[in-house]
Amino acid sequence: METKPKKTFRCDIAFDECKGCSRCVEACPRSLLKLGDAINMMGFPAAVYAGEGCIGCGACYYSCPEPGAITIVEITED
């Protein structure tokens, strides 16, 4: 019996493209996002990802008003 390759997800946040509106923070069903302490080049505290646990649902991505601030990456383990 073939086993399905295991898939995990990661939420990449482009530090300088985030306006710190916290819509993603509100949207994440697993509460994996928060606004960080560092201020980016536009003057906003960018959101940061907790580092693990992303299920790739896209809630943060679609809630985010910025074109490329959030990227959801799908990782497939061989």
Binding site: F9, A14, D16, E17, K19, G20, C21, S22, R23, V25, E26, A27, P29, M42, F44, G56, C57, G58, A59, Y61, Y62, S63, C64, P65, E66, P67, G68, A69, I70, T71, I72, V73, E74, I75, T76, E77, D78
Partner: protein, 494 residues
Amino acid sequence: MSEKIKLGRPAGFFDVFERRPGAIKKNMHYCPGCGHGVLHKLIAEAIADLGITHRVVLAAPVGCAVFAYYYFKCRSIQCAHGRAPAVATGLTRSNPDDVIISYQGDGDLASIGFNHILQAANRGENMTVFFVNNAIYGMTGGQMAPTTLPGQKTQTSPLGRDVLETGYPIRVCEMISQFDAPVYVERCALTSFKNIMAARRAVRKALQNSMDKKGFSLVEFLSGCPVNLKMNAHDMSEFIETKMTKFFPLGVYLDRAAEREPIVRAEMNYDADKIKSLLYPEEIQSELGDYKCSSPVFDKECRVKISGFGGQGVLSLGYILAILGKQRNFNVSWLPSYGPEMRGGTANCSVVFSKSHIGSPEAAENCDMLVCMNQPSVEKFLPILKAGGVLVYDSSTVKLPEGAAKDHYVYGLPASDLANHLGDLRAANTVMLGAIAAVMADNFLDDADKANLDTAMIEAVREMFAKKAKAADINIEAYKTGKEKIEFKSVPKA
């Protein structure tokens, strides 16, 4: 282990926003948390996924989305405030295969440009309207919008919107969905993930309708303006979901795309011969060839005023004389009375002939001939008939006052009665034409011109009734009757 991007910068956006001035080229100009950004992303993703970036033309509004053309990888145009649906109409009618997006805010769509959106919807223009309703004017700094909620404080409703003073929020989806023409109307909210996913489906459905040429689709998005409403992301979504949706319920208001046939617009025809056959009339061969009248009366302006009731063919009578002038190589002008005067039951026209320059086309003074087909005409226009000029009147309808026209040559005939006897009262004007021909022969024409006058007149009548041979025959009969029955009444007394 391998990685791929599941969700990233949508391909419907430019990679770098080169059109945006300043240093920031990856982000849009919207405030933090703005719903426009969320919607822009849904649109950019959809036009890329649907493979239509090359078919889309975006009409951008005045309002916060004024710079939408910085961002989308498609053709775009920035429109005047509220006018995007009209511009979009021009776009879609010009190039029906394009997918036209009219992107508008609440002030733009539901206030200054409200008529345009209603009319475009009612015409069923093949376009997709994305309507962002955030209950406030954003770009101008937080004034009351047509969709501002009762009691909501804005810069121009500082005590809260008073419905007794400013009315109630305007419900656009409810109104548009009453029309017969639109195919799809839905209201969504750019709030929770679930609502955003519903909005994503609506965006795609509307665009699919435009791709399929199904007609007018409108999607309204209840959207956050956290800066002007002074709310954080959480409160903004709560405001929309609890307060705004009370006035603006979410859902599909209209969806008749499935049963609607695609709009088929005519192909533009550029064939030169086709244009000529449309605009150039068929040439009528004249027995007289290229005959030019020789009577000296036409060396300068010869002015004729014709007047009577509307319906007596006064304008047509002048028109036949104008045709005559054209056929015989005169300069000729014909000027009707127009507007309310015409619709009020009287009509008059001026015809001026000349072999040289024609100044005024209005026979307002120094007329050579006055043709009156009713009583008021005599009173109104006799003063403009020059001394020694010719008056011709319809004695069935006109009683010439005692002592009138004593400076003129006067002719009369019962044109209306004669036409009635011929079986068509409408031919009174060509009876009059016959009279005019006789008068012209008597007063104006040299022998050469007299000799072929009937031929010329009859050819003019035939051209007038070019597609109606039977009518032409009746009117030629009427012409002959008029010419025969004309009665000479008096000469100038002086």
